[in-house]
Amino acid sequence: MTGTAASLLERLAQLEGDGLAAIGNAGNGEALEDARVAYLGRNGVLADAMGAIGTVEPERRPAVGQRANAVKQALSVALEAASTALAAADADADHPTIDLTLPGRRTWRGGVHPVTRVIDEICEIFGDMGFTRVQGPEIETTWYNFTALNISLDHPAADMMDTFYLDDGVILRTHTSPMQARVMEASEPPVRVLVPGLAYRRDSFDPSHAPAFEQIEGLAVDEGVDFVEFRSAIQTFVRRFFGVDTKSRFRPSFYPFTEPSAEVDVTCSVCHGSGCSTCKRTGWITIMGSGMVDPAVFEAVGYDPERYTGYAFGMGPARIAMVRHGIPDMRLLYEGDTAFLEQFA
């Protein structure tokens, strides 16, 4: 009956493994006691196995008996250790040496303004498309602000821009577009520039208007720049800035310095096109005015309008920041309230 000894040894090995696991997994005193009773108890599996030693052939009995005692010893030691550990854990729970849930030592959290973040992201995306940032004067002449851009002050189109006059022929720029003319006067194509900066209009300060506001103008001029390229550049921007699933649409519009002119809408980031108060229930948010550079502008700056074409666009980062963060009142952006600014830090 050699098989009996072998199978009992196998049973003991199995029993030892299972018992150690049961003791190790016992998370509290009750479970530990259950494991003790199951493995080491009077009617436990080990007692049962030991009872079977009598059935083993006599010459193998001492070896099997030894093995059984070793298993009993191992389980007892493990049981003792687990019991001590559980008791220590109980004691720790009553008198912790350190409470790791206490708050850590903090420093003040700084942050850039939410409008700056929008400006930087816009500039980064167009920067990747080859645009460089330029800067122009905020105090501007009427020639650059209006004349060069094909804007006649006698035309109702100028009503859209109520102007702060400083002097005869000198104003606070009503848009950052005058840099279009300054840049083209100074360099030959290819031109690809962004003009982030402040612009001024005589609007009273209310929830959706400010007399001074950020604007980003973009201009791309070269041979062979057409409406298809213009749409493609703007769509690339929209997908990167607003997300790949954002749809855009181009609507006819009018600006004296672009023709054809277009307003660009994107699907509302709040309702995703189903209509909400942010998008005035249209599902769309207008993000820019744009179009192909009017040949009259090229003539004003000395470019050959038959050779060069281009596109231009203008965006209001404050409005975009308001939509992005759900800010209901434009004035909040300019109050410098630290509790407001910290929300975006």
Binding site: R105, S232, R251, P252
Partner: protein, 823 residues
């Protein structure tokens, strides 16, 4: 501009798209549709009722008891609060159980002791208009009991168009309808059922006929004046269909003659005006400049004082209308009017614009004249108006129409090349395809391609905005559909324009300061003249308010205002910075033109500068349970200042305590307190920093001290490239030295001397202790220095280091009267 969808459907039969679809199509093809409003919704239960009897309520002066016929078998008693109720007239009636658009249901109830079964209502209660002055009188001749919506042609949808300034042609229903006209569909104008074909009495400056004389005395302000006379009209309410049209677009029916002129304006964009002919002196009208101080009471009841820049219509004796803007009160068509003169004229856009601006009157007429009307369609519009008046007000039109001024020559033809379309739009369209896009909206192809010049198109009279090839290219793009263009990414193109270095500099500052717990603020550039003691010099002559009448000349005062805002909200920990532009005027040498071009003329009087402003106050760190934080002090400010400046420039930033210069004055201001200094690079003042004067900020008692800094960003040049210094493998030797020096010796001078004295072996010098007190002699303080020496090629010996240390002692003793402390 509001349009009625029902009206559009009448003009374009077969236009069966839903109002939502029409709004969408129009937005994508022509101009934004911003308003969408159902007019006359929820009025199904409201019917026409005739007031059979009316008497005063026995218990209330302001109420009337009416007996009305609402088409049912029995007359109905209704109590009504309107001031005027005409027996026999028709009004909208809300029966018991019906619900008004505002949402409440009418019940039979006792009002001051009298039963009222339903109500008669006003425009505003029906949400049809703004008029709440009384109940809404309906035209005579309607059958009591007829549903109101059938009478008024409702419900309708009112689309609010946001028109671009170049597309005034879309300010009328025909204009909008044209955008929807596809191939094979024409416009169907309403048949009024009356006909008038004028025999024109023409003249250049003067034309006479139909019993009136028309004279253009200011041809530069009025190119044409057409008139027609209708005699024997019966002025009264307009028929319901006409009233319904006007209500649908948000207008207010006045009387049949005035409504007729408004209807034609809204149909075909020609501003018309009706005069009561009997009120004109001398049976004449002339167009002339107003005389200085001439007065005119306009239709809105205001008496206007005019000047020679204004243009008026006058009779023999006086001004009777503000040309192209508004009619006069004296000559308006009233219930007593019998004979009318209808005006259809072409006024100069600029002169109308001037008058509209100076009088502050922006009217339907001035809007259109400012943007240009179709001079070739004036006969048609006048005819339409006369026919409509004949149809709804009766009377007889004089067969003669008067017509003064030059015959309009029409608009010039414009050519468009298929090659240009390809160049600008990237679309491969041939001449026929281009024509297919342009012809449905009224452009007339004048034959084939004319050589390289492109195909020539006649421009319809209403499209005065189309004068150049690019205008037609835009029409092609618009008609093709902006969103039908192919999606083709194009190749990357570089830019030859270098980037302005200021952007990177500002980014570096933002990164640095936000990393140190500062919050970026943005503020508007406007300030009052005296701003926290900082005097601004660039005045804004037309400011929004006195608080915004100057442009800022420094950043810190603006931030101090923001600090006060935070104080007002109870915030004690404030750390703000802003990168922005400040403005100043420049005193010019007489006769100096600065070599600026004509295009820049005037800018030489102004200076703009990019600045960093920074303000901080409150705790150094957020409160923590383990320890309390001290308040920010001068050394926190200095550390920020040094970080910012050394992050921006190569030179060493020195804190200069003595001496003032004009630059520091320009940068600083009254806010600078006693613990302040100039930031100097290479001898140039680049900024100021220090404590904020208590008087410069309105601070609450719980506020901590405030610190501020202003830095000229152009003065700190961009950082060069760091050059590698070889790293020695040999060990360093450290030595300390404690000295006492008189208080008058600044730390910085001692440090400079040590660095100068040290040989190439001196790797680092650090101040580790400053002590003043009983351990040192009076009038002196102790400075503890730590040195680190290292050689590139060997391990240093004691002798090497002792030689260095003795040299230091000697120099310090000699130069600063230093005494070496022995510990």
């Amino acid at each position: 501009m509001n349009v009625s969808v029902n009206w559009l459907r009448e003009l374009v039969p077969g236009l069966d798209a839903s109002p939502e679809e029409l709004a969408e199509r129009f937005s994508m093809a022509a101009a934004a549709v911003e308003g969408f409003e159902v007019v006359g919704a929820g009025l199904d239960e409201i019917v026409v009722a005739r007031v059979l009897e009316v008497e005063r309520h026995p218990n209330a002066d302001r109420l009337s008891l009416c007996v009305v016929d609402a088409g049912g078998e029995e007359p109905i008693d209704v109590v009504c609060g309107a001031p005027v109720i005409v027996q026999g007239a028709l009004y909208p009636y809300v029966p018991v159980g019906a619900t008004l658009p505002a949402g409440f249901t009418i019940e039979a109830r006792k009002i001051r002791g009298e039963m009222s079964h339903g109500m008669l209502c006003s425009e505003i209660e029906l949400k049809l208009g703004r008029d709440k002055s009384g109940i809404m009188r309906l035209p005579d001749g309607l059958e009591p009991g007829t549903p109101l919506v059938d009478v008024l042609g409702l419900p309708d949808v009112r689309l609010g168009l946001d028109l671009n300034p170049n597309r005034v042609d879309l300010a009328c229903h025909k204009g909008v309808a044209r955008e929807f006209v596809g191939d094979g569909v024409g416009l169907t104008e309403r048949d009024f059922g009356a006909t008038w074909r004028a025999e024109w009495a023409d003249g250049d400056a003067e034309a006479a006929g139909a019993g009136v004389t028309v004279r253009i005395e200011a041809p530069d302000r009025c190119s044409r004046y057409l008139g027609a006379v209708v005699r024997g009209v019966e002025v009264g309410p307009s028929p319901a269909w006409l009233a319904g049209r006007l209500l649908a677009v948000g207008g207010r029916p006045i009387n049949n003659v005035v409504d007729a002129t408004n209807y034609v304006l809204l149909e075909c964009n020609q501003p018309l005006h009706a005069f009561d002919l009997s009120t004109l002196t001398g049976a004449e009208v002339k167009v002339r400049a107003a005389s200085a101080g001439e007065e005119l009471e306009t239709l809105d009841g205001e008496t206007r004082k005019l000047g020679p820049a204004d243009t008026v219509i006058a009779d023999r004796d006086r001004a009777i209308a503000l040309a192209g803007v508004m009619g006069g009160a004296d000559t308006e068509v009233t219930g007593e009017t019998v004979d009318v003169l209808i005006e259809c004229a072409a006024f100069d856009p600029l002169s109308v614009r001037k008058t509209a601006r100076t009088t502050g009157l922006s009217t339907d007429a001035s809007y259109r004249f400012e943007r240009g009307i179709d001079e070739t369609a004036q006969e048609e519009a006048l005819t339409r108006c006369v026919e409509l008046i004949l149809a709804i007000a009766g009377g007889e039109a004089d067969p003669v129409g008067v017509r003064a001024g030059a015959t309009p020559i029409g608009l010039e033809d414009v050519a468009v090349r298929a090659t240009r379309v390809r160049q600008v739009l990237g679309l491969d369209l041939d001449d026929d395809e281009i024509a297919g896009l342009l012809e449905p909206i009224g452009f007339i192809r004048r034959g084939g391609t004319a050589g390289g010049g492109g195909a020539l198109y006649g421009v319809p009279g209403w499209r005065g905005d189309v004068t150049r090839e690019i205008d037609l290219v835009e029409e092609v793009a618009r008609r093709f559909g902006y969103d039908n263009f192919p999606d083709e990414p194009r190749r990357f193109r570089p830019s030859v324009v270098p980037e302005h270095p200021g952007f990177k500099r500002a980014e570096r500052i933002r990164r640095l300061l936000t990393g140190r717990g500062m919050l970026e603020a943005r503020s508007l550039s406007f300030v009052p003249a005296d701003h926290h003691g900082n005097v601004a010099s660039v005045a804004v002559p037309n400011p929004l308010s006195a608080e915004e009448s100057y442009l800022r000349s420094a950043m810190v005062p603006v931030l101090l205002r923001r600090l006060e805002h935070n104080y007002s909200r109870g915030r004690r920990d404030v750390r703000l910075f802003e990168v922005g532009t400040v403005f100043d005027t420049v005193a010019l040498e007489p006769n100096a033109n600065g070599g600026t071009s004509q295009r820049d003329a005037g800018l030489e009087r102004y200076h703009e500068e990019s600045r960093l402003g920074l303000v901080l106050t409150g705790s150094r760190e957020p409160a923590h349970w383990d320890e309390t934080s001290a308040d920010l002090d001068l050394w926190d400010l200095k550390s920020l200042a040094e970080d910012v400046a050394s992050g921006l420039c190569d030179g060493v930033v020195e804190a200069c305590l003595t001496g003032v210069d004009s630059r520091a004055d320009a940068l600083g201001g009254a806010w600078l307190g006693t613990e302040s200094y100039r930031m100097v690079v290479d001898g140039q003042t680049v900024g100021v920093a220090g404590a904020v004067n208590a008087g410069a900020v309105d601070s609450p008692p719980w506020a901590a001290r405030a610190w501020a800094l202003e830095l000229d960003l152009a003065a700190v040049t961009s950082r060069g490239v760091a050059e590698y210094v070889s790293l020695s493998p040999y060990p360093a030797v450290r030595r300390d030295l404690a000295i006492t020096v008189p208080f008058s010796v600044p730390f910085a001078d001692v440090e400079d001397a040590l660095r100068e004295t040290g040989s190439g072996l001196l790797e680092a010098v650090r101040l580790f202790d400053v002590y003043e007190g009983t351990e040192v002699e009076d009038g002196r303080r102790s400075l503890g220095w730590a040195f680190r020496f290292r050689a590139d090629d060997r391990t240093l010996t004691d002798e090497d280091v002792e030689a260095e240390m003795s040299a230091f002692s000697a120099v310090l003793e000699k130069r600063f009267d230093a005494r070496i402390r022995t510990s």
